[in-house]
């Protein structure tokens, strides 16, 4: 069990290309402490194509679905071993993924109805209009559980230096929690496709007992860098910024930095949540 002092900051910015062409931001983020040492984080990226005109609503529904379903399991199983066993099992994660996608579909159908939007007989066509990815992370005092449908990145950064390691360059390590096979080009897995729960990838691990941070981001961030190496360097650099300047200072600048990143990089909407555990 880690001795937590967990800080969470996040920002979601409209992409520079969307500002140019007058489109809304189709990303959404949500992060909430359930208890002092338990937090649920989620980011989602709406597809933004002409075939997905309501994907802004779809990404909102996605982060809400993750929070609601995760909360429901915490309420029924607690946040200890019972939940850990469930989310660490194949059957448990399949059930969890099904419930997430079911909750999302119910939300978007309701949104469609209450907004008086044009009736669509084909279920899949309606869901496509709200298409979105979803990345979620549950952090408890003992374990973390990552969940992903579609592109984006869930990264852990930690201090790997020790007293014997005198090399100042070997200070921090950044690695993906879920190694998602890259889909080349612009396509992504999505909540809106048939059997989308089967594309969910998950990972459950024990919290490290050293200072560390989790970073959830939509693909607008990683696509703003030439390669994976530069992106992971960026993750380490954000972590260093928090250590050196504190979460409040980084939070105060986060919007500006992400806007700059979109402007000079991918042009896409960018969402980023950082959960930092200084582990004193």
């Amino acid at each position: 069990m880690v001795n937590n002092r967990l800080y969470v900051i996040g920002a979601c910015v409209k992409g520079a290309s969307h500002k140019l062409n007058g489109k809304p931001c189709q990303d959404n983020i949500k992060y909430k402490f359930i208890e002092k040492d338990t937090v649920i984080l989620a980011v989602a990226d709406g597809h933004g194509s002409e075939k997905s005109p309501f994907s802004e609503d779809g990404s909102k529904a996605a982060v809400d679905a993750f929070h609601t379903v995760t909360r429901r399991y915490i309420n029924s199983k607690g946040k200890g071993d019972s939940l850990r066993k469930f989310l660490g099992s194949e059957k448990g994660t399949a059930t969890f993924a099904r419930e997430i996608t079911k909750d999302w579909k119910q939300r978007v159908r309701k949104l469609h109805r209450i907004n008086g939007r044009e009736e669509i007989s084909q279920k899949q066509d309606l869901l496509l209009k709200y298409g979105s990815t979803l990345l979620g992370l549950l952090i408890t005092d003992s374990f973390y559980f990552a969940f992903q449908i579609g592109d984006g990145d869930i990264v852990i950064v930690y201090d790997k230096s020790d007293e014997s390691d005198k090399n100042p360059n070997n200070d921090y390590q950044a690695e993906h929690i879920i190694n998602i096979p890259k889909i080349l080009g612009v396509e992504t897995h999505s909540l809106c496709v048939r059997e989308s729960w089967t594309t969910a990838l998950t990972e459950l691990k024990t919290r490290p007992e050293i200072p560390h941070a989790f970073m959830l981001s939509t693909d607008g961030l990683s696509n703003s860098y030439r390669d994976e190496k530069t992106f992971l360097f960026t993750c380490r650099d954000y972590y260093k910024a928090i250590i050196n300047h504190g979460t409040n200072t980084v939070w105060g600048k986060l919007n500006t930095w992400l806007e700059e990143t979109s402007r000079d990089g991918s042009g896409d909407d960018i969402s980023l949540i950082i959960a930092y555990d200084e582990n004193l």
Partner: protein, 245 residues
């Protein structure tokens, strides 16, 4: 508190490779190659303008010529702002397979980045391949970026082998017919707009089984690239009885 700069490494837009693959065999001699040269040359300013309105994709253009053998006319991808056209001449046979081989070498990762946008390949041909194109084409279509590439073919004249071009595109509707000079120019201009369509920011979903969700219609050979093109505005062919190739 002293200002400190944005954390992280160097920012980069996503590369978008656009490749003209031009049949320079002897049958293209004269008016055909002349029109190809003129039409591609004329698309450059519009492609540059379109690229300016989407600065988040780095449009890189190359030309590959094939006749007896195949070679890169542009040795490396060139930013559209710096791209200029050198007129091609026509002589020899139609080694389309060798052209596919050269494309394969450039679509592997590396030199392609896995963060690139889908490359656009525009194949302009008036005839039938004279080499073993099939194994080279199969290799191209088996590459991850080969599968994801947006492939358009312009069939020049009535002797072109449309079945081969359909194999290349994976979709009959992306084999554009150009049986006269006016249509050749129109089709080349339309093909040049593919870069702008590919770079428009959106993320279409894939099916859970990994197959493309969308097809444009027409024959789907199973190798069709995920379509981000609007085929509804492909120009119609001119109905001319005379002056057809």
């Amino acid at each position: 508190m002293a200002e400190f700069k944005r954390p992280g490494g160097e920012l980069s837009s996503r590369p978008l490779h656009f490749i003209w693959m031009v049949d320079c065999s002897g049958s293209m001699r004269g008016e055909k190659i002349g029109k190809v040269n003129h039409a591609i040359q004329s698309t450059i300013p519009e492609m540059a303008d379109a690229a300016k309105s989407n600065p988040y994709a780095e449009l890189l253009i190359r030309t590959l010529a094939f006749s007896s053998g195949a070679e890169w006319v542009t040795s490396k991808p060139v930013n559209v702002e710096d791209f200029s056209w050198s007129d091609l001449t026509a002589e020899g046979v139609t080694d389309m397979g060798k052209a596919f081989d050269l494309i394969c070498d450039q679509l592997t990762i590396p030199p392609m980045s896995d963060r690139a946008l889908p490359p656009v390949l525009v194949l302009i041909s008036d005839g039938q391949p004279t080499d073993d194109y099939k194994s080279s084409l199969n290799r191209l279509l088996s590459l991850p970026w080969g599968k994801k590439s947006v492939r358009i073919a312009i069939s020049v004249g009535q002797d072109a082998d449309d079945s081969v071009l359909s194999e290349f595109t994976g979709n009959k509707e992306l084999v554009l017919q150009a049986n006269n000079a006016a249509d050749l120019v129109k089709m080349i201009k339309w093909a040049s707009t593919a870069a702008a369509m590919v770079s428009a920011p959106s993320s279409p979903p894939v099916s859970a089984d990994g197959s493309e969700r969308e097809r444009t219609g027409g024959i789907n050979s199973g190798n069709a690239a995920p379509l981000v093109l609007d085929i509804n505005n492909i120009p119609s062919v001119t109905e001319e009885e005379n002056n057809v190739w």
